[in-house]
């Protein structure tokens, strides 16, 4: 029976970011809808009852995250699967008693407490598919006020005062970029949102678009007004189908509400936005390559100057801004430039979103004030290293960045400091590495990426990245030559100095920074044919310790090439000539025996 206490407002929020969906978010949502239908909740509840999908909640490690709100009182659950939903509905929604054993624990609060949410503030709280929800949290008020009260010049002044710098990697001051473009006399100008997000370990921009597409759209409209552009583009990867879908829906809604189109909200300002799908090339994140790609050609960069603010898309002045840069703008105008400039470090203002991943307990999307220390990110927010292993380094800036070693854990994170350490902010990937990661292997991983993504237009990058990769490959195979480290350094410098675009100029960073901090690992590979972290296949062997093996047979059953022999309850042996060093035996050997050895 549904009693009178039930005339409450019931709202269920299910995380439906990519991480949430991957963990089964859609099934959880269906289960709620089904459970409500079965129990007739919808009919008897007098106020409304809604199951919402929301974008990324950040704490992806505990997906599927579900909020149950009764009359605004919110309880957050973690690790929810469809099968658990009936009990949640029965005990909490209908019975009023939260299921305490499934609610989030102190880590959830620790994860959120140190964060400052500007860009992500509404991600995970509003339904990205409903413009009314964005308007309900103050969305589009900045735009309306700007259109009725401010001149383009005043808009640019506010952005300059805020100190906002580009979040796409280079950190160029946004207000200055806009000013240069605005001062440029031209009938036609373009503004482009760069949502190509090529860093292979990052998903911030995608999550922002999936969680709050209207914030990006509002930012783009503000930018267009400031520089005097009537045509905007969002260049987004085709590999992000969910983000594309939500963006398109959001654009339709913005058009229907008169935020896009002719004479926006009674002003004389016309502006509309087209979506262009990227076709899968990292270099297309570089602005001149991106422009070539929108023009429908191969996405090859060209040399600068002329910069796109003078000569960009179809030869016209063009501003290109990153997704996160744009998503900051509505908030800057709502809360004021002075407030924004009060967050962050001296030269880097505001917050930065990072995709915190790798060997860390709490993985997910985080937003922190610029200037926060690595230590706070890794230990307070991230909860420390997985399996309590030793922290070794953190990789930032993806294939253009580098590794910051554990001795610099107190580093305060901003644009300048990261560059000083031989890395860079990049788009915000932050991959934590532990003692079981081989730094030569990491450098090789990134070089494999840049080598295959080099567009081939300029020789230093096309051949240089290939040569670097060849040398790294032979080092990881134990065939390194005594002078290989010097050779790598010399070539890396040449490539940095002589490449045409940012891809080549930054491609050697992963190599240089790992040599700088982990030279001894390179030396161990080259001189001793040893991989200290036990990663490089050619340099390790697996054996079974006869003292510890209890003959459970698990390794034998899991070996894909039948290289392990042994009778039940008798000591097993790995036949080295058959072993492909896949490591399956090492992984499946029960921890209480730990009989498989890797050396």
């Amino acid at each position: 029976m549904v009693n009178s206490r039930m005339s409450k407002e019931i709202v269920i929020n299910v995380c439906m970011g990519t991480g949430g969906i991957a963990a089964g978010g859609r099934d959880v949502m269906d289960a709620f809808i089904e459970a409500f239908r079965e129990r007739g909740v919808d009919g008897r509840v007098e106020k409304h009852c809604a199951v919402h999908q929301v974008g990324c909640r950040g704490f992806c490690a505990r997906d599927v995250l579900v909020d149950v709100s009764l009359d605004g009182e919110r309880t957050t659950y973690q690790y929810i699967q469809a099968a658990m939903v009936p009990r949640l509905v029965e005990e909490h929604v209908l019975g009023g008693q939260p299921v305490t054993e499934w609610t989030v624990g102190p880590e959830y609060h620790a994860f959120h407490d140190r964060q400052v949410k500007v860009v992500l503030a509404d991600c995970g709280n509003i339904d990205p598919d409903r413009i009314e929800e964005y308007e309900g949290v103050g969305g589009y008020t900045a735009l309306r006020r700007i259109l009725s009260e401010m001149s383009p010049g005043e808009v640019i002044d506010v952005v300059r005062e805020s100190g906002l710098r580009g979040r796409g990697g280079a950190g160029f001051p946004t207000g200055i970029k806009w000013k240069i473009c605005a001062d440029n006399e031209s009938e036609v100008k373009y503004i482009i949102c760069n949502a190509d997000e090529g860093d292979p370990g990052a998903f911030m921009d995608r999550s922002v678009i999936e969680g709050n597409p209207h914030a990006v759209i509002e930012g783009l409209i503000i930018g267009a007004y400031a520089i005097g552009s009537a045509h905007g583009y969002v260049y987004i990867r085709a590999e992000y189908p969910l983000a594309v879908e939500r963006l398109r829906r959001a654009l339709d809604q913005a058009r229907a509400k008169g935020y896009l189109g002719k004479g926006i909200h009674g002003s004389r300002f016309d502006f509309d936005i087209k979506v262009k799908l990227g076709a899968g090339a990292f270099v297309c994140g570089e602005e001149t390559a991106l422009i070539a790609s929108i023009e429908g050609e191969r996405g090859m960069p060209r040399s600068k100057p002329p910069f796109p603010v003078f000569k960009g898309l179809w030869g016209k002045p063009t501003v290109i801004n990153n997704v996160e840069t744009l998503a900051n703008l509505p908030v800057i105008f709502r809360r004021g430039a002075a407030w924004y400039a009060s967050v962050g470090s001296e030269k880097s203002k505001g917050t930065k979103v990072f995709a915190l991943t790798g060997k860390i307990k709490n993985t997910g999307l985080i937003e922190v004030p610029m200037g926060i220390s690595l230590k706070e990110i890794i230990y307070d927010i991230g909860g420390g290293i997985e399996k309590d292993r030793a922290f070794k380094a953190v990789q930032t800036g993806g294939p253009s960045g580098g590794c910051i070693p554990s001795q610099h854990i107190d580093l305060s994170v901003d644009y300048e400091n990261l560059i000083r350490m031989g890395s860079m902010m990049g788009s915000g990937g932050m991959v934590v590495l532990d003692e079981t990661d081989c730094m030569v292997n990491i450098a090789k991983f990134f070089l494999e990426f840049t080598q295959s993504e080099s567009c081939g237009k300029c020789t230093p990058c096309r051949f240089g990245t290939r040569r670097l990769l060849e040398i790294l490959t032979r080092i990881t195979r134990g065939q390194g030559r005594p002078d290989d480290i010097e050779r790598l350094e010399r070539m890396a410098r040449t490539i940095k100095d002589s490449s045409l675009c940012g891809l080549g100029m930054s491609a050697p960073n992963p190599v240089l920074s790992t040599i700088r901090y982990f030279r001894h690992e390179y030396e161990a590979h080259i001189h001793e044919h040893r991989c200290p972290a036990g990663v490089c296949r050619e340099l390790i062997t697996y054996t079974i310790d006869p003292e510890r093996c209890k003959g459970c047979g698990k390794c034998r059953r899991h070996c894909p090439v039948e290289a392990i022999e042994g009778q039940p309850k008798a000591v097993h042996v790995i036949q080295q000539e058959k072993c492909i060093k896949c490591g399956s035996c090492f992984e499946v050997c029960p921890e209480k025996f730990s009989a498989v050895l890797r050396a």
């Binding site: 992806c60 998903f203 590999e239 050609e297 490591g583």
Partner: protein
């Protein structure tokens, strides 16, 4: 070319002419229609638009998104992004190639059941390493989970 194919190409061409497309958008539309970029389609379009076939191929081979061969019935996508890499994606990939009996450089199984492709970061780093089959995401993958997952697909009867 057969007439249904010709009809598809005509409509792609019409859309291009009417809305001012480009080489990239033409190729994207061709791929949407055929599932890949057939050689005949490129030559037909080249004749129709006057754009040399070499330019189509220049663009098609530049971007990872274009396929010059028909693809398998099931698409297996192995994430090889940074987070997945440090969590052992390579061993998963090796096992996938073994189970699908793919030669080096081969992407689609001989029976056309599976195509294996690598991508960089699918945005689910928290459950790395990640493998996606068609649109279903499998997280926390290990080499020994591969046979079971592939077993769910494969010799299905046509739907």
């Amino acid at each position: 070319m057969e007439s249904p194919a010709l009809e598809k190409l005509e409509s792609v061409y019409t859309a291009y002419r009417e809305s001012g497309g480009s080489v990239v958008s033409l190729l994207q539309d061709i791929q949407t229609e055929f599932g890949y970029i057939p050689q005949d389609a490129v030559h037909w379009m080249s004749g129709r638009t006057g754009i040399p076939a070499s330019r189509f191929y220049g663009v098609a081979t530049f971007y990872a998104q274009f396929y010059l061969e028909p693809r398998g019935k099931n698409i297996v996508t192995a994430c090889c992004g940074t987070a997945c890499h440090v969590k052992g994606a390579e061993r998963v990939l090796t096992r996938l190639r073994e189970e699908l009996a793919l030669e080096p450089g081969q992407e689609t199984t001989r029976d056309g059941q599976f195509t294996l492709e690598k991508v960089a970061c699918v945005g689910a780093c928290s459950i790395a390493p990640v493998v996606i089959v068609n649109h279903k995401v499998f997280g926390k993958m290990g080499p020994d989970k591969v046979p079971k997952i592939l077993g769910e697909y494969g010799e299905q009867p046509d739907e």
